[in-house]
Subunit: 481 residues, 2 copies
Amino acid sequence: MTPEEFRDAGHRLIDWIADYRINIEQMPVRAQVSPGEIKNRLPESPPEAPETIDRLLQDLDEIVLPGITQVQHPMHFGWFPSNASLASVLGDIASSGLGTLGISWESCPALTEVEQVVCDWMRQLTGLSEQWKGTIHDTASTACLTALLLAREQASGYSQNEGGLQSVPRPLVVYTTEEAHSSVTKATLLAGFGKQNLRLVEHEPTTRAMLPDALKNSIEQDIADDYQPAAVVASVGSTGVTAFDPVARIAEITSQHKIWLHVDAAMAGSAMLLPECRHLWEGIEAADSISWNPHKWMGTILDCALFYVKDSAHLIRVMSTNPSYLRSSVDREVTQYRDWGIPLGRRFRALKLWFHLRLDGPDAIRERLRRDLDNARWFAAEVEKTPDWRVLTPVNLQTVCIRHEPAGVEGEMLNAHTLAWVSEINQSGKAFISPAKIDGCWLVRVSIGVETCDREHVQCLWELIKSTASAGTDGFLMTNA
Amino acid sequence: MTPEEFRDAGHRLIDWIADYRINIEQMPVRAQVSPGEIKNRLPESPPEAPETIDRLLQDLDEIVLPGITQVQHPMHFGWFPSNASLASVLGDIASSGLGTLGISWESCPALTEVEQVVCDWMRQLTGLSEQWKGTIHDTASTACLTALLLAREQASGYSQNEGGLQSVPRPLVVYTTEEAHSSVTKATLLAGFGKQNLRLVEHEPTTRAMLPDALKNSIEQDIADDYQPAAVVASVGSTGVTAFDPVARIAEITSQHKIWLHVDAAMAGSAMLLPECRHLWEGIEAADSISWNPHKWMGTILDCALFYVKDSAHLIRVMSTNPSYLRSSVDREVTQYRDWGIPLGRRFRALKLWFHLRLDGPDAIRERLRRDLDNARWFAAEVEKTPDWRVLTPVNLQTVCIRHEPAGVEGEMLNAHTLAWVSEINQSGKAFISPAKIDGCWLVRVSIGVETCDREHVQCLWELIKSTASAGTDGFLMTNA
């Protein structure tokens, strides 16, 4: 494709995207397709002859769009917000158009240095001290794996450079809570620690925050049993109920025992743009690594996960490679981001943060986040004052965990009722919310914060929830009568 | 930013990208900046007020462009081709515009199923059998780490679900050659095997291909010494000199001992689009995993690394997570790509392959690859027939390893001479080539294959190389006289 052909097709595509975003509210929120339906509409064999952009745009409309759960839809309240702000989309487009190759500073100095600068801007915007150095990973899962590798190598005295994990005498142990994101367990397993060496520390039943005394006891017991504590992963805004582990008190314990403390703030990092929220990660300066995702609530399009460490020399020592064909005379003066993560090559991801921050401006972003917090408080208050409805966990941020608990509906019956009304709403395409299982019981997470979601959408959701759940109760009680 | 503001800015950006690609040949190939120069041109603090797209485009022109080593420039012959074909860029733009969230099939069925389909198209286009199931990773580094985790868990009977790697009695061993990509060592270390358990198997001195008998001996010796062979990583088109390990003979050995065989075809996978090149990975069907990067020579913009396995159930068993908030009623019927790699969330990467294959068509892609092979043969022949010049390794694909060896220049003097003329060319901005150190001696890799690189560019490079190296010799011999 020539640049002029690209210009023509590109203009059509930009219009298509703008129209898509304008019309999104008319689409069902949840994808309305069955498993295999999209696959079956695509040819089994690759194309022979070139096709036109018209044909591609038509397929985007007819095949792709119905197969998307519209996370940019203002009635999407599922999982966590996954905003793809259009300002950041422009940065992503610039990155694609440039087609740069990030394998060393020399291969694209701009890619490296803009990333350094925007990571530092984000550090300042979230109130972190200058001791933190950042980079952009794809996801918090990868950042968590990286953190646990750093912990493993710290605890084992760089066993990777000698006999590996098998040569380490005492079993290394990782601590987190049941409430932590699934990626913590995954990273523990992938880093080689083994499931038996993952401790799910007791949490407070209501807030679901880690109990520091329980952590302390668990660590001391392990040391007594000849285990070696290596890492604690604290959740700052957990995925289930947005729980906040008490970082300051945890850090006292990890500092004392020289245990790596990774703070997973994938979701709540965005909140730290607001000074009034920073008490939620009080003590953060004593952690060893932090990850958080601008690609969630803040809205810098996926994939954009920030990963900060204080000791970048340790990070580089664990992750570095230095092949001859990438060496250059400036190696000592520059940052080589290939030594800050798993992949060698990287896209010019910094551009999406750069565009987002500059085109929208931090004030507008902060204003939007405050709007969402306000909407969450409003919604929680509505739920609380309505009979048979409960807010189940503290509303620390913008996610509200609720349940409809009509009289006489309990246990498995209540679970079935909850899943039934959620499913009905999701299937309707009018809104999307996610159920989550906590202590064996299903609840419903209403996660507010899509960029285009205003109070009216939250009101609309609440009406929909009430009517669907009530109707469900009637039918349900009759069926089970 | 509203969709209408995006529309306006997007059109400007598309024009900017088209113009950039048109004018790229007028720019220096190598970035002409010093360490810190770009950083120093950017504000230390984040912006306060929103800025305009004009300002951003101006900064792209004035700050970013000078800081890019132009891998899309037809005179770029460095590293490996890293083509960002404009057809694939359009797919990437569509992905950005859609802003989908790939965390489960349900979150975006189209993302999952288009990825399944295009991975299968690529399988067919490279002549692999139906037993291979594919997914898209960011890079071959990540794919290699994944492969070694699969090997580790196969060899250890899923130790990750119990006591982890520390509970495995015999040290697990990984085999590759010195010629393998740096990511193999990195993955071995990150997966916990330890450097002492990485065997660099002897290679044939000229082709630098692994010697199967040496592999066999090494494995047998390890077994005798109570080590447990776990994985072999074979290079199909190595990064240094495009060496090809003999996959068929290696697979005989790994099959016999039930050792995981990962084939790193990051570069040479593109060549497998050409039936006449497939003898280069003969025996591939007996491997356990394969990775190759359409984002290299084939030109589907980074990041797009294909990862294929035969036993996807094993892959899922090692990589799976199943948190409650992602469970849905269709889980058993669909593919959950979060269980095929490290990150939970993924972009709609399949769109760039889908657009690339459909807009350009496989025929045009194959034609371009054949043009590059022909140019490499022409260039190698020119070098070979020129006095004082040598082609050092077999020209298996499109990379030609050469050296200027004027009479009387040897050893460290020759190294200094080689680095001097390469450096002069790279600094001139007229072309870019990468030196590489093989057995202690520097050689120069001329890697042909940028999408816009025609015979005239290769001719131009050869004239530049000859004149620069000769002039260098004169000066060099005088300086050292």
